[in-house]
């Protein structure tokens, strides 16, 4: 009983801490935390592919963008659309896109997979840029209505112009997404994923269908990228090709994942936090985004290929060795 309570205690503490964030940091930092939460989910969804299944995608922004554009278009054209349907439409559009793309891409892996995604994302970007009458072209869609967060007849919180409320909404949606993804990786199916990454042939011999399994992971990953995109669209109240479908949007979750460590579930969350801090601090002094990103990529891949969590694990290991040595010397 006490053991069980001990296990839940950190989570309870975390939830309470998250609940008090708006009170402690004030409204200005809400932007920072919401963006962090969105990109944490986006990065973890990418890591379902990259870390768990071993598929590097240079075009995950497609699904982020599909979620964003789906929600934005729905809110623009469907009168009085409630919040959760709007979110669902975002997710559905990402899933739909994934269903179209996945038969083409799950057949390949490695470099071909990465490059095909770069290509498809670029195609989508160009289409969003050129089909001005639907997507608003370069300027994108803006100023659509943000529905309130409400349980009909009980309560209703306005989200428009209330950063603290939006923060709670974002934290709930994104927290739930993280929790679902965590569960997803712990199922037997999640183990097949890891098996595919480590030795696809063996999984095939064991009688599992590798291509089908890859497709399922792919669609799940796209769905959560869609969640992130959809929430981000409602938060920013604007969607535009560069911020949702551009190459840099595809690279951001890869940076986060590499920084945090591809070998662990929470690695990308750490990575997002680290990158967000780097952005907050470094970009106050310089606006040379490319240089900073380039240096991060090169340094991380050369000196800490498992990222922050790998580094932590290494330190822990060293500390244990050190302690062992001390104990042996004392004895």
């Amino acid at each position: 009983m006490i053991d069980k309570m001990k296990r839940w205690l950190p989570w309870a503490a975390l939830i309470i801490a998250l609940a008090f964030v708006p009170k402690i940091f004030g409204i200005y930092y809400m932007n920072f935390f919401i963006t962090f939460a969105v990109f944490a989910v986006f990065s973890v969804s990418l890591n379902l592919l990259l870390g768990y299944t071993g598929l590097l995608s240079f075009g995950h922004a497609m699904y982020f963008g599909a979620g964003g554009y789906g929600t934005a278009l729905a809110l623009k054209y469907i009168w009085n659309l409630p919040l959760l349907p709007a979110l669902s439409i975002g997710i559905l559009s990402a899933v739909l896109l994934a269903l179209i793309v996945c038969p083409l891409v799950v057949r390949v892996g490695g470099t071909a997979f990465a490059m095909m995604h770069m290509a498809f994302a670029q195609l989508l970007y160009v289409i969003a840029l050129k089909s001005r009458f639907i997507t608003g072209g370069e300027d994108g869609l803006a100023n659509f209505r943000i529905p309130p967060f409400s349980i009909p007849g009980v309560v209703s919180f306005p989200l428009e112009g209330a950063p603290a409320n939006f923060y709670y909404f974002a934290i709930i949606v994104l927290g739930a997404s993280l929790w679902l993804m965590w569960f997803f990786t712990k199922t037997p199916f999640g183990q097949i994923q890891v098996g595919i990454r480590d030795n696809a042939k063996r999984i095939d011999y064991l009688g599992f269908k590798v291509t089908h399994a890859k497709a399922v992971v792919y669609i799940v990953s796209a769905a959560f990228a869609g969640v992130a995109g959809s929430v981000y669209a409602m938060f920013q109240n604007v969607v535009a090709p560069d911020g949702y479908l551009g190459l840099l949007v595809s690279f951001t979750p890869i940076i986060n994942t590499m920084l945090g460590g591809i070998a662990s579930f929470f690695g990308p969350v750490w990575g997002t936090a680290i990158y967000a801090l780097i952005e907050e601090i470094i970009f106050r002094y310089t606006d040379r985004v490319e240089l900073v990103i380039g240096i991060i990529f090169v340094l991380v891949i050369m000196y800490a290929p498992l990222g922050f969590s790998g580094l932590m694990l290494k330190l822990k290991f060293k500390w244990m060795m050190f302690k062992n040595k001390r104990m042996r010397q004392a004895a």
Partner: protein, 290 residues
Amino acid sequence: MDVTASMYAAQAIHGIAFGMVLFLIAAGLNVIFGMMGILNLAHGAFFMLAAYFCYSVVAMTGSFWAALLIAPVLTALVGVFVERFFIRKVQIMGAMGELILTLGVAMLILGGVKFFWGTENLPISVPPVLEGMVHIGALDYPIYRIFMIVLALVVLAIMTLLLYKTRLGKIVRAAVSDREMVNALGINVPLVFMFVFGIGVWMAGIGGVVIAPILTVFPGLADQVGMYAFIVVVTGGLGSLKGAFIVSIIFGLLSSFGIQFFSQLAPVLIVGFMAFVLAIKPHGLFGVKE
């Protein structure tokens, strides 16, 4: 000959010239991938770097011909440096490590270029010998475009001779098929691969110098033209020179005629063509399954 026909001919020459430059870059990319198995995402950035080197050399010496000689070599040296001190270190991590490292290098070069040369468009003028038109039959052809086509063919010929007619080429091809054995025979394989990487980057460099007078030099070069080179390589099949050649010419023509007839949709045409090809053949037109 009437106006329409000459318009078509001019567009075709433009398309083929652009296709040939694309092919130069894509061939460099393909040589590196085919020989070393590395997809060099920094290739577009090297191409752009060469254009900037070209600008600086022209500014210093006033001679385009000097730039044509020096700038690609300088770029190749940067490439060799990157291979020796960065890429070689991450090769044990497989494709993912290389992709992310070269992506990082691409970002670094882009950032560096913006730092040293700024972001504005820098013009380079065509040398006087190559200005103007030449009469063939009843049509006028711009000399510089023809020069581009000829130069690309010359570089290609040099490459082929180097790879298939020299001792070095033999070693490279042997190292591709069995790296360990060649190494065991006392040949320094990492050195050979460093050389191969240098050659690949040198080809991108030639492309960068040649295109500089037409498009002017600006940081977007890496994205615009470099992206096309990647699309060419992926569509033609990674590592296949034949595929790269065919697809470059198709893309060159698609872009020149596309701009002529429906300028808004030209980029969609090219990317759409690639998506279509990859949908049918995921490893590209002439690609081999990994």
